[in-house]
């Protein structure tokens, strides 16, 4: 849980932190701000 990446939600455009290991998986992210699920490809920005 140490190192993290930051993912921008395509709906609310807020950022939240994820494990970098999730970036290598075919798993939808869950936005904690607006409660939507979305695949990596839909995120406007991912920072590592």
């Amino acid at each position: 849980m140490g190192i993290c990446a930051a993912v921008e939600c395509p709906q609310c455009h807020k950022e939240f932190v994820v494990s970098p290991s999730m970036l290598k998986l075919n798993v939808d992210f869950h936005c904690p701000w607006c409660n939507v699920n979305f695949p990596k490809a839909q995120s406007p920005r991912i920072r590592e």
Partner: protein, 484 residues
């Protein structure tokens, strides 16, 4: 009467009645009401046990279950929980925990009729986590969470293991459960590799000594229900679970127990969640298990517990660890007098006090505690330094350390702790470097004595002989002093 949360609250009410606060105004735990109240209290350096009498559940209705926080969040509460004198020092409390752990007490199994936790039983379609007053603890948490101790049992030897895991409420009968690679992970993976469901239960409320015993850090082979009995100083009463019967025994005197199965081959997205070091643990998947809830049992007037990351101390979690660290340090160097890893400032910092007899003693003691993955920055002091006082620690670092000689930094080769936000590597290659700082005075040459008032003068002069008590009482605590 067996010890339970009710007996503890009675003890608190008797011994420190002003530190038990019941709030009967409606609160919304999922809307951060409870978090804000606790954080305001933290900021005022007040740590009462707080019982929310009318919390809303996740359906928005007043829950039939009350919510409690801060049961063990200060040293005085931990003293009451352990049943030790209020004059016992922190180090003595850690040694008391060690001594109890040397004498585990086997649990006893009682019938369903004798188990208060079976007063209300919900299984099948009646299972609904949303009727519980589950909290959103921190901004950006992935959802409402429960975060108390979960119980797993090794399927080969029947040894019980308890540990704390964050569990995000996903639906009325589903949570995630984040499990890092320690004992619980080992148990689960054994079931998973055999294609089997892993029995699990989560205890949402019990006597604080139960919660402290559940934080025990010892050998995998140690049965942790027996360790909890040691902390309670009486056999823990157990009862067969609804889901698994005798295969998974659960505490009979708990407030609320969630039962279910960790499904093999399935994972859940979990997080973020505010973790103990004070930072958000990122959203995860690979180590976030699929917890299918199959039963909820509780007392009719249950009080559910949850934990929120404290601004300061968390003795219920740190005392068992301090005992473990003290034991290991003393195995290496018998002159170790105290070990502190209490409080947010000490989460990956370890402070050791010792009476050294060799210049190599500090490094040996540091190497011993370095075997724990919470040890990253290890500081060793002489016995005159109060390692529970940050002012003392910083003073010793300022005046007894020459960095070029007294600071050792290792390569990044030790297994790190997954909660450390400073880690530079992924969880499965989770490595850290460690630092050892020797802040002890040298043995082989003179070192300036600490300037102080002679002991006999301190003993001879009684303050009230010079300043009347009524004047002394009017002098306010000066909070402009940095360490007040």
């Amino acid at each position: 009467m067996p010890k339970d949360l009710r007996s503890y609250l009675a003890d608190v009410h008797r011994e420190v009645p002003d530190e038990l606060v019941c709030i009967d105004r409606e609160v919304n735990p999922a809307g951060y009401d409870c978090t804000a109240i606790i954080k305001h209290l933290d900021a005022a350096k007040k740590f009462p046990v707080v019982v929310f009498e009318r919390p809303l559940d996740l359906h928005g209705a007043v829950s039939p279950v009350k919510l409690m926080l801060n049961a063990e969040i200060s040293q005085s509460k931990a003293q009451i929980a352990l049943g030790v004198p209020r004059t016992m020092s922190r180090m003595e409390m850690a040694e008391e925990c060690l001594n109890r752990e040397k004498r585990p007490i086997k649990p006893v199994v009682v019938s369903r009729d004798e188990a208060p936790v079976k007063q209300v039983i919900q299984t099948g379609a009646d299972v609904d986590l949303y009727h519980l007053p589950c909290m959103r603890h921190h901004e950006q948490d992935g959802g409402p969470y429960v975060d108390m101790a979960s119980v797993l049992v090794d399927r080969h030897n029947g040894i019980y293991n308890l540990s704390y895991h964050r569990m995000e409420i996903k639906s009325p009968n589903l949570t995630s459960m984040l499990v890092v690679p320690r004992h619980a992970w080992k148990i689960f993976r054994d079931y998973e590799e055999a294609g089997l469901e892993c029995p699990v239960a989560t205890v949402l409320g019990h006597h604080p000594a139960f919660n402290m015993g559940a934080a025990y850090r010892g050998m995998y082979e140690d049965d942790e229900y027996e360790m909890i009995g040691a902390y309670l100083q009486e056999p823990l009463r157990l009862v067969p679970s609804e889901t698994w019967g005798d295969r998974l025994l659960v505490p009979a005197d708990a407030e609320v127990v969630i039962e279910g199965a960790l499904l093999p081959g399935k994972r859940q997205v979990d997080g973020p969640f505010g973790e103990a070091p004070g930072y958000l643990g990122p959203q995860r998947y690979n180590d976030s298990l699929h917890y299918e809830v199959r039963a909820i049992t509780r007392r009719r007037d249950a009080i559910m517990q949850t934990i929120i990351t404290p601004e300061g101390d968390k003795p219920w979690l740190d005392l068992p660890r301090e005992g473990a660290y003290l034991r290991r340090a003393r195995e290496a160097v018998s002159g170790v007098t105290a070990v502190c890893k209490a409080g947010r400032h000490a989460h990956f910092n370890i402070f050791i006090a010792m009476k050294k007899t060799s210049e190599g003693d500090p490094a040996r003691a540091a190497a011993a505690v370095a075997s724990f993955d919470h040890s990253k920055n290890i500081f060793v002091f002489d016995e005159d330094i109060d390692v529970f006082n940050p002012a003392d620690i910083l003073w010793a670092l300022a005046t007894r350390v020459q960095p070029h000689a007294d600071v050792s930094i290792s390569p990044m080769m030790y297994k790190g702790n997954e909660l450390d936000p400073s880690l530079l590597d992924e969880v499965y290659e989770c490595k850290t470097s460690i630092m050892i700082v020797d802040a002890t005075r040298p043995l082989g040459r003179p070192f300036s004595p600490v300037s102080k008032c002679p002991d006999d003068a301190m003993a001879r002069v009684n303050l009230e002989d010079y300043i009347p008590r009524e004047v002394l009482d009017r002098i306010p605590l000066d909070r402009t002093s940095y360490w007040a």
